[in-house]
């Protein structure tokens, strides 16, 4: 589950729990507040009554009658005053029934005895319980609404904030991991965030990538330097052999030996040249500024290579249905790519076999399919055919794939071309080149 989802879920559930708890407690809460307030109210009334009695005297109210009673028309509140004989002092608040003019009503009653002169009096102040709880429901409703609104507001604020808070994480993953291509050539910039944890993660990733980049760079530099350093001695040897071959007193035997040496030297030269080429491609030393017509490219390759078809009597068919131009590419490299693939298709073909080149659009790709009727590649070997110096057990006379396919892959990577290989032993191999649409015209 995503972190934001988890946080969202947690925030929502915890708020929901709070709301439920509050709403379930609300009636008890409101009731207790109401009853406390009533008690307080009755006490206040008592103070006021006592104040006026002290001022005016009891007789002012009793006026010779046995008791005094006052109530409003709805009998919601009443005040009663009467002399009592007992000497016990009572001062309580209780809920009890009173009969007021034939109506029996439930009252919250404050009962208070006091002494005035030599007589004891009993004061009762009552409030109907109905009036006490009359505000409970609206109060509960308003409290619930206010609470829910507040919770909703904080919930939204929380969600927006967590999203904002976690945004750098997404950015770090996208900019540092997903959208970066090995070996991380471009410099990466730290993500702007005030969260130190993310800064830590970001910095760790940046330094990790720098290490990878450095290690890769060193290997690349080594290949380039080593190949370069080998060129001069090879050059000297080659020229020496060439000069020797035309010396007048060289016997036929020596001549032949010299040619063998030359051949071996040539092989060394090709290997070093291939390594240098790969390292230059990986160093991005080739400009990608050409627009290359696929049709012309194949025609040029075939012009150079078609004579090789004759020896094995291989038939070749070029069936390009689309007039496609590959933009932002390097013509020489694409030539080499196609050349190597066609050359392999010839080299590993059977006598009187065939090679077919076709093209089509597939999803967001333009694809060129090169299939041959050759000896095929064992499926176990397919993942490693692009590795440098990989040799196939099946290839005739111990001739390996050498560096040809490594070069193919370097060029393809450099142009963001995807290569699919499928093969059936003894019946043929198909190389599919998938070009992203943005380079196709």
């Amino acid at each position: 589950m995503k972190l934001t989802t988890k946080l969202t879920l947690f925030i929502t559930l915890s708020k929901l729990a709070i709301v439920l708890l509050f709403i379930s407690l609300l009636p008890t809460l409101v009731e207790s507040i109401a009853s406390k307030y009533t008690n307080f109210y009755l006490r206040e009334q008592q103070k006021k009554v006592m104040k006026t009695i002290n001022k005016n005297g009891v007789d002012y109210y009793l006026q010779g009658e046995e008791s005094y009673g006052s109530y409003t028309m709805l009998k919601e509140e009443y005040i009663a005053l009467e002399p009592v004989s007992g000497k016990s002092l009572i001062d309580t608040i209780e809920t009890s029934e009173r009969v007021v003019e034939q109506d029996t009503l439930n009252y919250r009653v404050l009962i208070h005895t006091f002494q005035m002169g030599k007589k004891h009096y009993l004061l009762e102040i009552g409030k109907t319980t109905a009036t006490i709880s009359q505000y409970n429901r609206p109060l509960q409703r308003i409290a619930s609404i206010v609470l829910i609104t507040l919770i909703l507001i904080t919930l939204i604020a929380d969600l927006i904030y967590t999203r904002f808070l976690l945004a750098p994480l997404d950015k770090i993953i996208k900019s540092k991991l997903l959208n970066r291509k090995f070996p991380f050539n471009e410099d990466s910039h730290p993500i702007k965030t005030s969260t130190s944890d993310f800064q830590y993660l970001d910095n760790s990733l940046i330094s990790l990538m720098e290490q990878i980049h450095e290690a890769f760079e060193k290997e690349r530099e080594f290949t380039a330097n080593a190949s370069h350093e080998l060129m001069t001695p090879i050059s000297i040897l080659q020229n020496k052999i060439e000069n020797l071959m035309v010396e007048a007193d060289v016997s036929e035997l020596v001549q032949r030996r010299l040619i063998e040496m030359h051949r071996t030297l040539n092989r060394l030269k090709k290997i070093v040249n291939s390594l240098l080429l790969i390292s230059r491609i990986e160093n991005e030393q080739f400009a990608k500024s050409d627009s290359v017509s696929v049709k012309e490219l194949f025609e040029d390759v075939m012009e150079d290579i078609s004579h090789r078809l004759e020896e094995k009597e291989i038939s070749f068919s070029l069936e390009l249905n689309n007039d496609v131009v590959i933009k932002r590419s390097n013509r020489d490299l694409l030539y080499q790519l196609i050349y190597n693939l066609i050359n392999n298709a010839i080299k590993y073909n059977k006598p009187k076999g065939s090679i077919k080149v076709s093209d089509s659009y597939k999803g967001s790709f333009y694809q060129i399919i090169i299939s041959d009727t050759g000896i095929g590649i064992p499926s176990d070997d397919i993942p490693t055919i692009f590795n440098r110096f990989k040799k196939s057990n099946l290839s005739e006379g111990g001739v390996g794939y050498g560096l040809g396919l490594s070069i193919v892959q370097s060029i393809a990577n450099y142009h963001k071309i995807k290569i699919d290989v499928s093969s059936v032993i003894q019946s043929g191999t198909t190389f599919t080149l998938l070009f992203p649409k943005e380079v196709i015209d």
Binding site: H228, E229, M231, T232, I234, S235, I236, L237, Q238, N239, K240, E242, N243, M245, V246, Q255, R256, I259, H262, R263, N266, R267, K269, K270, N273, S274, L276, L277, R280, Q285, F286, A287, E303, D304, H307, R308, E310, E311, Q336, Y339, N340, N343, K347, G402, L403, G404, I407
Partner: protein, 226 residues
């Protein structure tokens, strides 16, 4: 023709010198950029073969300086660096050709020849070869006004062998010429034989081609009596 070889790798310089002397060029050697510049100032050269990785200065500096001093010489850059920027820079500075190391001496000679034709206006009349005549400028082989159709590579091979006539050329030397430093796995290819067969077939239909000899186990040569 006078040639200056600016190359710090002495063994290599001597081999190039030995080869060019045999081809009747007059050669001087320089092993540093300073020496090279001094020699260019004092002498008139037709060609300067210039290595780029010199111990004291970059070879491109020599080229720039020499061009400033109005040197008439044609410059061929010989380098193991082989990166594209150097090549472009060299040609921008006025170099006439660029040959990546390791190179074949025969290839070097053919480049010198090509520049001579182009730069010094040496117009080879069409060269006689048996019953055929070959025009290197127009890249045409003909017999009595009849043009014979050869492919680009076939013509390249023929003219290369013609340039190095009476010398046996190995298959490697021939394929190196037509493929250049193009990276091809088939270092041991006998595809040259196919081309030679085609040349013989095409020209043979019009006349004798016994001047094109196969030297068993070695390669091919054009035998030509002047």
């Amino acid at each position: 023709m006078k040639i200056l070889i600016v190359e710090d790798e002495k063994t290599l310089a001597y081999e190039v010198e030995a080869f060019l002397k045999k081809a009747f060029f007059i050669c001087d050697l320089a092993h540093t950029a300073r020496q090279g510049l001094e020699q260019i100032e004092v002498n008139q050269y037709d060609f300067v073969l210039l290595d780029l990785g010199l111990p004291d200065k970059d070879g491109l500096v020599v080229l720039e300086q020499a061009k400033k001093n109005n040197s008439e010489a044609a410059f061929i850059i010989l380098t193991a660096r082989g990166n594209i920027e150097d090549r472009i820079k060299g040609l921008d500075l006025g170099a006439d050709d660029y040959l990546p190391k390791p190179f074949s001496l025969l290839e070097l000679q053919s480049r010198i020849q090509a520049i001579s034709r182009r730069k010094f206006g040496i117009k080879n009349q069409s060269i006689k070869l048996g019953e055929f005549s070959i025009d290197l400028q127009k890249r045409v082989v003909s017999k009595e006004e009849n043009e014979i159709d050869l492919t680009r590579k076939e013509f390249d091979l023929l003219s290369y062998m013609l340039l190095h006539k009476n010398r046996v050329l190995t298959r490697i030397q021939l394929s190196e010429h037509i493929w250049g430093s193009f990276v091809d796995d088939d270092y041991d290819s006998n595809y040259i034989d196919v081309h030679i067969k085609n040349i013989r077939k095409k020209l043979g239909a019009h006349g004798q081609v016994d001047w094109l000899e196969t030297v068993r186990g070695v390669g091919y040569k054009i035998k030509k009596q002047e």
